[in-house]
Amino acid sequence: MAKLVEIRWHGRAGQGAKTAALTLAEAAIESNKYAQAFPEYGPERMGAPMQAFNRISDEGITVHSNVQNPSIVLILDQSLIVAKNVSVTGGVPEDGTYIVNTHLPASVMRKKLGVGANAKVYTVDATQISIDALGKNIPNTPMIGALIKTTGLLDWDLVIQETRNKLGKKFNKSIVDKNVLAMQKAYEEVRS
């Protein structure tokens, strides 16, 4: 793992991008790494485009500005790729990694994103997985599964355990189990 990994989450308010970023940071800290997770709140209404950020490092992190050059971008809603005032590719290096929640194949997404051959593009139908498991479109935990599978950023078992801890503070066991199931399914189904 590189010394500092910076991640940007693009979602719509209500999709759980913030919770996903926080869960990832907690798992990283549990793995004895340093980490930050923070959302950028815009207008406070459901469905509004929002971003969340992670920094994960082997060394202490003091920077408190937004992530400008993420090497990993997670897109929870593919309509954000063409949304006005949102640039999902902004500041991302040529060899950056994109993980998109979509039922479409990566080759189509690569074109939609307009990124070159060096970029790594992965897709997972986190919405369908989430609807199957939870009965609603909360694609955040599946996206964590896709992220860990494609980047190997953190130990998978530990991420599952931390997701249980984090969600367990807010939800009952049945909902936590369903989320973990969705995460595992996305881990298996993510494709390049």
Partner: protein, 392 residues
């Protein structure tokens, strides 16, 4: 080494409050209140603390109830942010004048208008002359540590002043970071039991609190209030040293970062100091002697100490995350410049930055150091006050 845990700034401060276990927390339970009080209310509901939680109908009432509880002899706390602090205003001054050791975490957010919920320092900078001790935090760890220390500082018999503990809204309050907390019993022992000086509920020794005080004695009482703020510095340093012994984290009135041999330096408060540390490391790697002084204790203002610490720098930029709208400059700038008058040469300039949550990037801070380098090399100041990162 103690195991790191992930906590947001709000969680960290609520955790410190749980460990302090105040007798009374009075708070307004709706926006602009922060998650601190929301989290704390679950500690109360779960029976994890003995606190009497009073949810009131406004921030003005929150401060009033806190003042009432503290006067009665309780260890009392509240928390607020932005316009909530503005609504408390009248009682904020009364709390300090009555010498009540109230501790109040404040999540720094912009004052309206226009309506904004994001970070800057306009809320607590407005309260800088209210007679409260003001301690700023760079990150969640410092917010936790400062909350624990504030209790000891405020309740010290030589101080008996209320303390605001600040952290940057969203940037710290809603951001998760790696930090450590102290064991419950260590914090409990550190803050100790609160023994009020003249509690109203001590009916064997009746006292009057908050009476009319006209031209005969008002001035003498205000003179005492001024003196106790001057004297508070030594207690703040003493408590900070003792905190260092239990935590291994050492705090002064401010933090000096690569300042010893710095030729150009910035003076900054809050989360931006962390970003500046990264920039300074990069500049140092390129042979540029940059440094920083991060103010932790803003009230009492460490005037002579700052002048001494920054004596070597040829050009200094004071960063203000609020404006005074007085056609002169930001509040920190004016305090620093006034402290330096007649004590040292060198150039000093002001940057107003980050208002209403405008992201403060490494490039922004780089540009300040570039300006400082030009000033140090040429001795010429192009702009005394610069608005940084704004469209003009």
């Amino acid at each position: 080494m103690t195991k790191m845990i992930g906590m947001t700034g709000n969680e960290a401060v609520a955790e410190a409050m749980r460990q302090i276990n105040p007798d009374v927390v009075a708070a307004y339970p709706i926006t602009p209140q922060t998650e601190i009080v929301q989290i704390y209310s679950s500690f109360v509901s779960n029976g994890q603390v003995d606190t009497e939680m009073v949810t009131v109908e406004s921030e003005h009432s929150a401060m009033s109830a806190t003042v009432g509880a503290s006067s009665a002899g309780a260890r009392a706390m509240t928390a607020t942010s932005a316009n909530g602090l503005a609504l408390m205003w009248e009682i904020v001054y009364i709390c300090a004048s009555m010498r009540l050791p109230v501790v109040m975490p404040v999540v720094n957010r912009a004052l309206s208008g226009p309506i904004n919920i994001h970070n800057d320092h306009s809320d607590t900078m407005g309260a800088r002359d209210s007679g409260w001790i003001q301690i700023f935090s760079e990150n969640a760890q410092e917010a936790y540590d400062n909350t624990v220390m504030a209790t000891r500082i405020s309740e010290n018999k030589n101080v008996l002043l209320p303390t605001m503990v600040m952290m940057d809204g969203f940037i710290i309050s809603h951001a998760m970071e790696a930090m450590t907390t102290l064991p419950d019993d260590v914090v409990k022992k550190f803050v100790g039991n609160y023994k009020p000086e003249n509690p109203l509920l001590d009916i064997a020794n009746p006292v009057t609190i908050g009476p009319l005080d006209l031209f005969d004695w008002y001035f003498e009482h205000k003179r005492q209030q001024a003196q106790v703020m001057i004297d508070a510095k030594s207690t703040i340093l003493k408590v900070s040293r003792e905190f260092g012994k239990i935590s291994g984290r050492n705090y002064g009135l401010f933090e000096e970062y690569m300042l010893d041999d710095a030729e150009i330096a910035i003076i900054v408060i809050g989360s931006t100091a962390g970003t500046a540390k990264k920039v300074i490391k990069d500049l140092r790697a390129n042979g540029i002697k940059a440094g920083m002084l991060k103010i932790r204790v803003f009230r009492p203002f460490p005037a002579t100490e700052i002048v001494k610490a920054i004596k070597g720098a040829k050009a200094i930029a004071v960063m203000d995350k609020s404006d005074s709208y007085d056609a002169v400059g930001g509040p920190v700038y004016k305090d620093v410049r006034s402290a330096m008058y007649g004590k040292r040469g060198g150039k000093i300039v002001n940057y107003i930055y980050g208002l209403g949550g405008r992201d403060v990037t490494e490039q922004n801070i780089h540009s300040v150091f570039e300006d400082l380098k030009t000033i140090a090399d040429t001795g010429k100041v192009a702009n005394q006050v610069t608005y940084l990162g704004v469209r003009e």
